[in-house]
Symmetry: C2
Subunit: 288 residues, 2 copies
């Protein structure tokens, strides 16, 4: 059986998948790095968070979502979800007909470029840390990693309790204290294991929103890398070596948003992550 002939779309179509809103920080970086592509973003909001689910369940959800994005014509897939990248990247690549990029490998690659001491701190959610996918990816690149789970950061960010490093707000102050608890834990572990950390890898797509607060909290000698930026840069590099169908103009609309539940919440919360208003979100019924 041959694949049906499809006319080439005018613009490169990039599918971005996440369990929820966090991946919108990746889309935000993609829009800035590759403005001439057309984006299809799918947030599996009905089944988030993936972090508490088993590998088999996450793989099933992620494969379904990847197939859906391919059915929309995506010519490239970005798995902008740490849990899905950690647990389901192989499963997605096994079924996808287009290139698939995960956030963990790009993060580890950029840490490898950045770190002089070869000792890296990974801040991530509980589930991502438990998978040890970052530690493994770091080891593969000759780095040593300390992974610290920071489960309170996502809810603090979703609450908007971040003041971007400005002083004076009670809620921003609470977020700084929470961050300090996690960083103290990391430094104690680094000391115990005689690691010399020089790079912090933000292993969660929510964390870029906390970047200014983090920069105000840690020593200036530490390089902070976020997965949104590093992933977008990698996509641009990879696409430059491929044939591009875009005409050099800007597609309109540039982004199509799909969510499996809570379209209203997606619009409201998502706009903060994307850094611009989200007008239209289409509900996709996955029969979850």
């Amino acid at each position: 059986m041959t694949a049906p002939t499809q006319s080439s779309p005018k613009f490169m179509r990039i599918g971005v998948f996440d369990s929820g809103f966090g991946g919108l920080t990746v889309l935000r970086s993609l829009l800035s790095q590759i403005p001439t592509a057309e984006y299809f973003y799918l947030g599996d909001t009905a089944r988030l968070p993936y972090g508490s689910k088993s590998r088999a369940t996450v793989a099933r959800y992620a494969v379904e979502s990847a197939r859906l994005l391919e059915s929309y014509g995506a010519q490239y897939l970005v798995i902008a979800c740490n849990t899905a990248s950690a647990l389901a990247l192989d499963a997605i690549r096994a079924v996808a007909k287009v290139p698939v990029l995960g956030v963990i490998e790009t993060g580890a690659d950029s840490a490898s470029v950045s770190s002089a001491t070869r000792d890296v701190l990974v801040l991530a959610t509980d589930a991502t840390v438990q998978s040890h996918a970052y530690a493994q990816a770091c080891t593969d690149r000759g780095l040593r990693a300390i992974e610290v789970p920071c489960p309170l950061l996502v809810p603090l960010i979703e609450e908007g309790w971040t003041d971007n490093g400005a002083t004076g707000s009670t809620t921003g102050d609470i977020t700084r204290q929470v961050l300090r608890v996690y960083l103290d834990q990391a430094m104690a572990e680094a000391k115990a294991r005689a690691y010399n950390l020089d790079t912090i890898l933000l292993g969660c797509t929510h964390y870029p929103l906390l970047r200014p607060t983090l920069e105000a909290t840690v020593s200036g000698k530490m390089t902070i890398l976020d997965s949104a930026e590093t992933t977008a840069r990698r996509v641009r590099q990879q696409l430059q070596t491929k044939d591009r169908n875009d005409s050099g103009g800007i597609p309109d609309p540039r982004c199509h948003f799909f969510a499996t539940d809570s379209v209203e919440k997606f619009r409201t919360l998502g706009s903060r992550f994307l850094g611009q208003p989200i007008d239209k979100v289409e509900l996709v019924d996955r029969g979850g």
Copy 2:
């Protein structure tokens, strides 16, 4: 078609349903109030949290779970989940063949008994507040309610960042500050609306673990009611007026635990909510 004849179980069988672990605080109170029953606890951990899902989705999940507990022989169902109680109680009652009790109506009932000023503060999750199910239940009982969403409390509790009101720990101190932010918000709203609050209703099954911290934070003139305690008391009252099949002894095992995912996490985290070790958790595949 007639129902198959079933021999009466020796002990009263009570089914307890929650989206996750929080309902274990209800089970804990039930075990203390009705030690002679046999309990079937189902945590739909593969699909939690329900809070971000639509009414139709929550109803579908909750109805499936209620049916499953009935198939285990449950003669009484406790919906120990605020979201499911808010969004799906009618749907469950429409299909269940046994009595069904939700945590919201019992909470509002006990607030009505407790409050002299008739002005009540409800602390709950975002989803529960958005449903305004507590406000409605309070209005139905001649109470006025201020509902404050406290989305950071569940993750703080799940992290164990509670020190039960003892002073000195950094993490416990952070939790007290967060609680203070929410209470200040409540008091400002009460002042603006000229409400005279005398009762705090804990509208989330996680919150009983925060009770000592809350008691140390609020004025002693406030009565704190938690849904675990009030629900267990109501179940005992209702069952005393019904035929009981128990022999007066204690069933062994008293509790059967079922989860739709993450059996290991259920055991570890759940034990803190139940206040005793959980040995065996059976995985139920719901095909989510």
